[in-house]
C-alpha cells in the first residue's frame, strides 16, 4: 500500500537533514489532515507573513502603531466605500484565475482579457448599439464575450499546436495593451480633450449606484461568486475539472469530454476577466482609459492561490486584498512609500502561504 503512496507522490522519500551528530529530520507524507488543522497551518503562516511585512514597513519608517491606526482607518465610510469598489474587479479576476487553475491552465492573460472586455463594452457605447434600457446588460455581455474570445485564441493554440499557455497568455497581454493604445490614440480618441481616452459613457452606460456610493459592480462580482461556486462544486463540468487536473490521460480514456470541458472552463475564466474590465471602465472611470487593467494579473493569481481556487474563499481574500490596496494608497500619500512596497507585501504573503502547503502535506519529525 505504501508503494502506491510513494509512486503517487514522488517528492516524499525522507530526506536526511544532518548526516551525523544531532539525529535527523525526517519527512513523512500525511495521508489526511483534518480541515481545522489545515486552517491552523494556513492561518499561522499568514500571520507570520504579515509580521514580516510589518517589520519591513517599520524599517521603511512606518511605526507598527501608526500602521494599526491606518488599518483601522479603513473602517471610515470613505475608505470602506473605496474597499468595496475595489473588491469587485478583484473578485472577478480572482474567479477568472481560479477557475482556469482548477484544470491546470495557467491563465496569465487576465489583463489582456480585461482590456478586451473593456474594448467590447466600449464598442457597444461608441457604436450606440441597442436601446438605452438594456444598454448596460448588453455591455456586460459584450465584455464577457470579449474576454472569452481573447483567451480562446490561446486555447486554440494550445489544443491544436500545443503552444504553452503561460507564455501565450502573458505575451498576448502586450498585444492587447498596444491594440488598446492604437484605439485610444486613433479612432476612439476623445475629440474634445485630445487625451488618449475614449469619449465618456452616457449616464445609462455606467454602473448604477446601489447605495453608499458603491456601484452595481459589486453585485456582478457576488453573482459571479455564486455562479462559480455552483459551477465548481455542484455542476457536472465541475466534476470533470477534477479529473482533468488530476489525470488528463485517464480522464480521456474513461470518457470525460476533456476538450469540450477545457474550452468551456477557459471561456468562463476569460469571461470573468472581461467582466472585471467592464466593471472598471463602467464605474469609476466611465470611459476607456489606458490603465484600467494594470496590475490585475498578479492580484488575480494571488487571490486564486490564497483561496486554493475555491470561489467562496476568493470573495473573502479579494476583500482583504482590497483593504491592502486602499491602505497602501493611504500610506503612499502620507508616508511617500512606493506602491511597489504594497506589491512586495503581497509577495511575502504568497510565499508564507505557499510554505504552509508543504506543512499540510508533510509531517516533519526529529529523530535522534
Amino acid at each position: 500500500m505504501h508503494d502506491i503512496l510513494r509512486r503517487a507522490e514522488p517528492l516524499t522519500s525522507p530526506v536526511p537533514a544532518s548526516p551525523r551528530g544531532f539525529g535527523r529530520l525526517t519527512l513523512d507524507v500525511r495521508q489526511n489532515l483534518p480541515p481545522w488543522k489545515q486552517a491552523v497551518f494556513v492561518g499561522s503562516s499568514l500571520i507570520l507573513g504579515l509580521a514580516i511585512s510589518v517589520a519591513i514597513l517599520a524599517l521603511a519608517g512606518i511605526p507598527p502603531l501608526t500602521l494599526a491606526s491606518e488599518l483601522a482607518g479603513v473602517l471610515t465610510a470613505e475608505n470602506l466605500r473605496g474597499v468595496l469598489i475595489q473588491a469587485a474587479p478583484l473578485i472577478l479576476v480572482g474567479l477568472g484565475a481560479s477557475v482556469a487553475f482548477r484544470i491546470g491552465f495557467w491563465n496569465l492573460g487576465i489583463e489582456g482579457q480585461m482590456i478586451f472586455g473593456g474594448i467590447f463594452a466600449a464598442a457597444i457605447s461608441i457604436y450606440d448599439i441597442g436601446p438605452p434600457a438594456t444598454r448596460l446588460i448588453l455591455m456586460g455581455m459584450a465584455a464577457a464575450l470579449g474576454g472569452a474570445l481573447w483567451v480562446l485564441l490561446v486555447v486554440f493554440l494550445k489544443l491544436r499546436f500545443r503552444v504553452n499557455e503561460i507564455i501565450a497568455t502573458l505575451l498576448l497581454n502586450y498585444v492587447a495593451m498596444y491594440f488598446l493604445f492604437h484605439l485610444l490614440y486613433g479612432a476612439w480618441q476623445d475629440a474634445k480633450t485630445a487625451f488618449p481616452q475614449s469619449t465618456p459613457f452616457r449616464p445609462f452606460e455606467r454602473l448604477t449606484d446601489i447605495g453608499y456610493g458603491v456601484n452595481s459592480g459589486l453585485l456582478i462580482a457576488i453573482a459571479g461568486v455564486l455562479a462559480a461556486g455552483w459551477l465548481i462544486h455542484l455542476s457536472r463540468i465541475g466534476f470533470y475539472t477534477r479529473f482533468i487536473s488530476a489525470n488528463p490521460r485517464m480522464a480521456k480514456v474513461v470518457g470525460v469530454p476533456v476538450q469540450t470541458a477545457t474550452i468551456w472552463i477557459i471561456a468562463i475564466s476569460g469571461a470573468c476577466s472581461g467582466l472585471a474590465g467592464f466593471v472598471n471602465v463602467a464605474s469609476q472611470e466611465g470611459r476607456l482609459t489606458q490603465s484600467y487593467a494594470n496590475g490585475y494579473v498578479f492580484s488575480g493569481v494571488l487571490i486564486a492561490f490564497l483561496s486554493r481556487n475555491d470561489p467562496i474563499v476568493v470573495a473573502i481574500v479579494a476583500f482583504l486584498i482590497a483593504v491592502l490596496f486602499i491602505t497602501g494608497q493611504t500610506l503612499q500619500v502620507f508616508y511617500q512609500i512606493p506602491f511597489t512596497m504594497v506589491q512586495m507585501i503581497e509577495a511575502i504573503i504568497v510565499m508564507a502561504v505557499a510554505s504552509s502547503e508543504f506543512l499540510i502535506r508533510h509531517r516533519i519529525r526529529w529523530i535522534r
Binding site: M1, H2, D3, I4, L5, R7, A8, E9, S13, P14, V15, P16, P19, R20, R24, T26, D28, V29, R30, Q31, N32, L234, S235, R236, I237, G238, F239, Y240, R242, F243, A246, N247, R249, M250, A251, K252, V253, V254, G255, V256, P257, I367
Partner: protein, 500 residues
C-alpha cells in the same frame, strides 16, 4: 555462513496505519533469500527500512552481527546495503556512467567518471551483462535499465543486494537470465534478497524463503523442502483455484480489428497491419514478447491513442478508431489498462469519484446542473462490497491509498458496471498477488459467460493459456499466428520468437 543483514522486531506505521508489525528477517552471505508475500504484506516496506528509506518506529538493524542505526539511504550504502527498486531510480537523460557517478560521488568529476566507467566495465564483464556505460538510460530497454541499476549498486560496494520485484517488468527469458546472474552473484559471496510474489522463482532460485503476511514475517524455510501448495497457503492463508470452464459457444463477431497501423512520433512503427476478430462470449488472448506493439494496441483499443491507419470495428457502433468519445462510449468498451495510475485512476481523487466518473455522462449521477453525490456514495459503497476491495476506510479516501490489487479491483468494478460488450484487458494481474489475481480472472470469465467479447493482452503466458479461447501471437506489431484452446505452450513460445 554468517549473518549479513539482520532485522529484528521492526515496526513502522504510516499515519496510524500499521505497515510492519514486529517483522524479523535475517539474510546470510552467499545465499539468495526470497521474501515472499501478497501485495501489501509489507515486503517493500521492510526492505525500505533496510535501505534506510524509512526510519522504523521500533526494532533493530544489524550488519554482520553488529547493531547499526541508519540515518538515510547514503548511510545504508556506506554499510554495504544496496537496493534496486521496482521503479528504477535513474536519471533518464543521463548515461549509465553518469547515473552511477551520481550515486557514488567521486572527488574529481573527470577522473571520477573515468574510474567509474572502468568499474562499470568490470562489473558488466563479471556479470555478463550487455550494457554500455556511455548509453543514455532513455535509449535502453527495461531489462537493460535494470542491469544499470544493479551495476550502480554493486559499483557502490554493496555486499547486501536487495532486489524489489525484479522480474515484474521482464519477459520470461529475461527473468531467467537475471535470476541466474543473481544466483551466481550470491555464490560469489553477496547476500541477495529477492522480494517477489512469484512462487516459481522462489522454488527455482532461492536458498531460503521468508514469508510475510499482514506486516509480520510468518515463516522462514527452505523452498526446496516445501511444496508450492504449502508456500501458497502460508502467503495467502488459503489457496484459490480457477473455476471450471464451459466450452465456448461461438457467438457473432463483436470486435474486428482490421489492418491497424500506428507510427509513433519518433517514426517507429509500433502496429503494423494488426488484424484479428473476437466473438461474443470469447476470450481472445494476445501473447508476445513485451515491446512488440501490445501496449500500443491496448492504447488504441481504449482510445488513448489514435491509430494512423486501419479500423477498430465494434458491433453496433461501427469504426471507433477515429471516433469521438461519445461514439466510443456507445460501443461500451471496458478498459482495464496495464498502468492503472496512467489510464484508469486519478490517485488524488476519492474512490467514490473514481467509480462514478464513467457514468456521469449517462446521467446516472444527476443532471448537467446538479450532481447527485448521495447516489455516487451509495453505488460506491455497494461496489466496494461486491468487488471485495480491501483497505477502504471511507469511499471518500484517495484512490492512491489502495494497494495494487485493490486498485485493480476498483478499476474492474467501474468498468464492469457499464455492462460492457467488449473488454480490453492489458496485463490485468500484473503486480497482483495470487488471491487478487484469481479474483480478476473470475471477473473476466464472468464477463465471458455473459456474452462479452474479451481481448486479453498479457506477457504472462500462463495467464493467456488458462483464460483464452483463442490465442494470437503478436510480433513486431502484427498477429503472426493463431491457436485454438487448448493451445500448445511450446508452439506458442516458438511463434513468439520465430518471427522476432
Amino acid at each position: 555462513m554468517n549473518s549479513a543483514l539482520q532485522l529484528a522486531g521492526i515496526r513502522k506505521s504510516f499515519d496510524g496505519a500499521l505497515a510492519l508489525d514486529g517483522a524479523s528477517f535475517e539474510s546470510r552471505s552467499g545465499e539468495v533469500h526470497a521474501l515472499l508475500g501478497e501485495n501489501g504484506a509489507g515486503k517493500s516496506s521492510l526492505m525500505n527500512v533496510a535501505a534506510g528509506l524509512y526510519a522504523p518506529d521500533a526494532g533493530s538493524i544489524s550488519i554482520n552481527g553488529a547493531p547499526i542505526s541508519l540515518s538515510g539511504p547514503a548511510s545504508a550504502r556506506s554499510h554495504g546495503i544496496g537496493m534496486v527498486h521496482q521503479h528504477f531510480k535513474l536519471v533518464r537523460p543521463f548515461t549509465v556512467a553518469e547515473n552511477v557517478l551520481l550515486a557514488n560521488p567521486q572527488p574529481h568529476f573527470a577522473s571520477g567518471l573515468r574510474d567509474i566507467r572502468d568499474a562499470i566495465k568490470k562489473q558488466v564483464d563479471a556479470l555478463k551483462f550487455s550494457i554500455d556505460p556511455d548509453r543514455r538510460i532513455d535509449s535502453m530497454t527495461v531489462a537493460e535499465q535494470q542491469q544499470a541499476e544493479i551495476v550502480k549498486v554493486l559499483v557502490g560496494g554493496a555486499r547486501i543486494l536487495i532486489l524489489d520485484e525484479p522480474t515484474a517488468v521482464l519477459t520470461d527469458a529475461e527473468a531467467v537470465g537475471l535470476l541466474e546472474i543473481v544466483q551466481r552473484l550470491a555464490r560469489s559471496g553477496t547476500a541477495v534478497v529477492l522480494v517477489t510474489h512469484k512462487l516459481q522463482d522462489v522454488k527455482r532460485y532461492a536458498d531460503v524463503v521468508t514469508i510475510m503476511r499482514g506486516g509480520r514475517t510468518v515463516a522462514t524455510l527452505d523452498p526446496r523442502q516445501s511444496t508450492a501448495e504449502e508456500l501458497t497457503e502460508l502467503t495467502v492463508g488459503q489457496t484459490s483455484a480457477l473455476p471450471e470452464r464451459t466450452p465456448h459457444q461461438g457467438g457473432e463477431t463483436r470486435l474486428n480489428v482490421g489492418a491497424l497501423t500506428y507510427t509513433r512520433a519518433d517514426g517507429r512503427t509500433m502496429l503494423n497491419n494488426t488484424s484479428f476478430f473476437v466473438r461474443a462470449g470469447e476470450i481472445y488472448g494476445i501473447a508476445g514478447v513485451s515491446g512488440n506493439g501490445q501496449a500500443e494496441l491496448a492504447e488504441a483499443l481504449i482510445g488513448a491513442i489514435e491509430p494512423s491507419l486501419g479500423e477498430i470495428w465494434v458491433d453496433g457502433a461501427g469504426d471507433i478508431g477515429h471516433a469521438g468519445q461519445a461514439r466510443r462510449r456507445e460501443a461500451a468498451i471496458a478498459a482495464i489498462p496495464a498502468d492503472r495510475y496512467a489510464y484508469a485512476l486519478a490517485g488524488s481523487l476519492p474512490i467514490q469519484d473514481n467509480l462514478a466518473v464513467a457514468q456521469i455522462r449517462s446521467g446516472r449521477y444527476g443532471s448537467v446542473f446538479r450532481l447527485d453525490r448521495a447516489a455516487m456514495r451509495r453505488d460506491a459503497i455497494a461496489a466496494v462490497k461486491d468487488y471485495d476491495v480491501q483497505g477502504v476506510r471511507s469511499v471518500k479516501q484517495k484512490a492512491s491509498l489502495l494497494s495494487g490489487g485493490n486498485a485493480q479491483k476498483l478499476v474492474i468494478a467501474r468498468e464492469f458496471s457499464l455492462e460492457p460488450e467488449v473488454v480490453v484487458a492489458h496485463s490485468p494481474s500484473r503486480g497482483l498477488d495470487a488471491r487478487a489475481c484469481a479474483a480478476v480472472h473470475q471477473r473476466l470469465i464472468a464477463a465471458r459467460e455473459r456474452g462479452a467479447a474479451i481481448v486479453l493482452i498479457s506477457e504472462d503466458l500462463d495467464e493467456i493459456l488458462s483464460l483464452s479461447d483463442r490465442i494470437g501471437v503478436m510480433t513486431r506489431g502484427a498477429i503472426v499466428a493463431e491457436f485454438e484452446r487448448p493451445a500448445d505452450r511450446q508452439a506458442i513460445g516458438r511463434a513468439m520468437v520465430d518471427h522476432a
